[in-house]
């Protein structure tokens, strides 16, 4: 497989893995809704990167998929920001740890 991918492919894979991890860590560590959301976007794009990388080996499908992912991510962003604004109206903050009406 490595052969099929070629060195750049492998590098791309590793980069995407690293990006994904960074995204995950960001999500886990940050408290600001916006930033957390951006980290998630980062993860999505990491996935896109590896899709592209694989499509070098397997053909076009991966790249098509990337477009879908981007579209969906856009939709998500729209909805997500809307939600964040909605809740901001109530709390005047976007600190995730402050939203604790629902628990236990």
């Amino acid at each position: 497989m490595a052969a099929a991918l070629g060195l750049n492919g492998l590098i791309a894979l590793f980069v995407s893995a690293i990006l994904f991890s960074i995204g995950v860590i960001g999500v886990l560590l940050r408290r600001n809704a916006i930033i957390v959301f951006m980290c998630i976007e980062l993860m999505l794009n990491a996935a896109n990167l590896s899709l592209i990388a694989f499509s070098r080996m397997h053909g076009i499908e991966g790249q098509i998929f990337v477009f879908f992912v981007m579209a969906v991510a856009a939709a998500e962003a729209a909805v997500g920001l809307a939600i964040i604004i909605a809740i901001f109206r109530h709390y005047e903050v976007v600190d995730l740890d402050r939203f604790r009406l629902l628990k236990w």
Binding site: A33, M43, A47, S50, V79, I83, L101
Partner: protein
């Protein structure tokens, strides 16, 4: 025949959604307008009025979609088609459309009472439903992902539908954050799977996996793992479940019920199909993980539910627990397990729709009375509601003669058949724990006297009663004469995957 026909149900629903949105945009449907009880028009006051056009359109379109998918039953698609045309899809559509129909028809009162805007609500329900149906019908990972996201995003919005209520917004935020997080995993998982198998077509992938000596390939393993995580989030399996109680709790109750029925069902059916059929060849990769998820998901929420004082939240936990029971059917990874899960899902969908409906009916305006102690004496003050809720609770508890019992037995058979005695025992013991919190509602309803200042819910409308009655009838029917349903489920699923694959899946020795 024209391949577009394969998407007929989804097309119907999408058009309906568009229509509703357009109509809302161009036709003025203010309070009292011809639009009927749309925007918080007087709530319960004129609630008894004509059914809103949106609602009608929604109901008819869902029904139409259902008919369409039935019509597609005798169509057939090449094994590597992007969208499935088989009994499995029909079965799934049946459950999803049925659930949606119940939810929509039951939620009318709630919308009018809480003054929610009807068009968006129904449009979003329809879009979510489209997503679900795509999700369960997808035979291609791309389509799968699109369906998943379409469903999720619509439901995020629905969860936060009551903008003026912080709980609702908070619920939707939590749901959204974790959900987006999860879908990132899904995408990455799909990417790796694609890398491992070189295709996004599930059927093709399945063949390749079955051909290759499974397990060794790190990409494959990681891909399956991440995909599994994504689905585990959707069906709220422990420990990916923590969003669920909050989201269910905060969301407007009809949405909760929609999440508990539709979303869970869709995600679960997709998981069932992808794991046990397409990835059946790699069963021993994921089996261990799913086994653990099942065990945890059966034990934890049942225990937590014991200490819940809020019925809605309690039901939320119980629905998480039911995901655990369903996972038993996945672990069984057999035709038996699949049909068992489908049957259980069907029963569960009906029960959940009904019970949440009763919950928000009893809760009254602003969902004030939905603590367990608000149910004191309900059974005597509203005998019909009480009896119905009793039936639902018994079915949830898995008590004869309800569909819930047959479903549990079905799952037990699957587990025993797969040699998973430990799972079977856990299943029954955890449902014993569950008895306690279901019974608690029962004894509040019947054994304890209502305080004098108790709020007695208004007598429900005929429509509501009809829907509830349907649920009860279905439950008892499924409990007393499940034979027909079972046969149907088995027929439907028999031809679900490419035959060769079935054999493959069946022949997997259980670890």
């Amino acid at each position: 025949m024209n391949h577009w026909v394969a998407l007929l149900p989804e097309v119907v629903l999408s058009l309906a959604a568009m229509f509703i949105l357009m109509r809302d945009a161009f036709v003025r449907t203010d309070s009292g307008g011809p639009g009927g009880d749309g925007a918080g028009a007087g709530g319960e006051a004129d609630g008894g009025g004509r059914m809103s056009v949106d609602c009608l359109v929604t109901l008819y379109s869902i029904a139409g979609a259902f008919v369409a998918s039935l019509w597609l039953l005798d169509a057939s698609a090449p094994p590597d088609a992007m969208i499935a045309l088989d009994g499995f899809r029909v079965a799934a559509d049946t459950i999803l459309c049925g659930g949606a129909l119940l939810v929509v028809s039951l939620s009318r009162d709630y919308l009018s009472r809480e003054g929610l805007r009807s068009p968006e609500f129904h449009a979003l329900i329809l879009l979510a439903l489209v997503g679900m149906m795509v999700l369960v019908a997808a035979r291609d990972l791309i389509l799968l992902f699109v369906g998943l996201e379409l469903m999720s995003i619509s439901v995020y919005v629905l969860t936060g539908f009551v903008r003026k209520n912080p709980r609702s917004s908070e619920a939707s935020l939590k749901y959204f954050i974790v959900g987006a997080f999860a879908s990132a995993f899904v995408v990455y998982g799909i990417a790796l799977l694609y890398g491992a198998t070189g295709t996004t077509r599930l059927a093709t992938a399945a063949e390749r996996i079955a051909a290759a000596p499974a397990g060794g390939d790190l990409l494959l393993v990681a891909g399956i793992g991440l995909l599994l995580i994504g689905f585990a989030f959707k069906i709220a399996a422990v420990p990916f479940h923590m969003w669920a109680p909050d989201a269910y709790d905060g969301a407007p109750t009809p949405v909760t019920s929609f999440m508990a029925t539709g979303v869970k069902a869709a995600a679960f059916i997709a998981l069932l199909r992808v794991l046990t059929v397409d990835l059946g060849g790699a069963a021993e990769i994921w089996k261990g993980a799913v086994w653990w998820l099942a065990i945890l998901t059966m034990i934890v929420p049942n225990l937590v539910a014991l200490s819940q004082q809020d019925v809605k939240r309690m039901l939320a936990y119980s629905s998480v627990a039911h995901a655990g029971y369903l996972l038993v059917g996945v672990v069984a990874a057999s035709e038996l397990g699949r049909s068992a899960s489908i049957f259980y899902l069907a029963a569960y969908t009906v029960v959940t729709a009904g019970s949440f409906a009763i919950v928000f009916h009893v809760a009254g305006r602003g969902d004030r009375n939905q603590r367990v102690r608000d149910y004191r004496g309900l059974g005597w003050r509203r005998p019909v509601l009480g009896a119905a809720l009793l039936v639902f609770l018994l079915s949830l508890a898995g008590f004869p003669p309800t569909a819930g019992f047959v479903g549990k037995l079905y799952l037990l058979r699957a587990a025993v058949d797969a040699g998973e005695i430990a799972l079977a025992v856990t299943l029954v013991l955890t449902s014993l724990v569950a008895y306690y919190y279901y019974l608690r509602v029962v004894w509040k309803m019947y054994f304890e006297a209502a305080p004098d200042d108790a709020h007695t819910p208004p007598p429900p409308r005929p429509g509501f009663n009809l829907a509830i009655g349907t649920c009860v009838a279905l439950i008892l029917l499924g409990g007393l004469f499940p034979g027909r349903i079972i046969d149907r489920a088995r027929e439907a699923l028999a031809d679900a995957p490419a035959p060769g694959m079935v054999v493959q899946a069946e022949e997997q020795p259980s670890p």
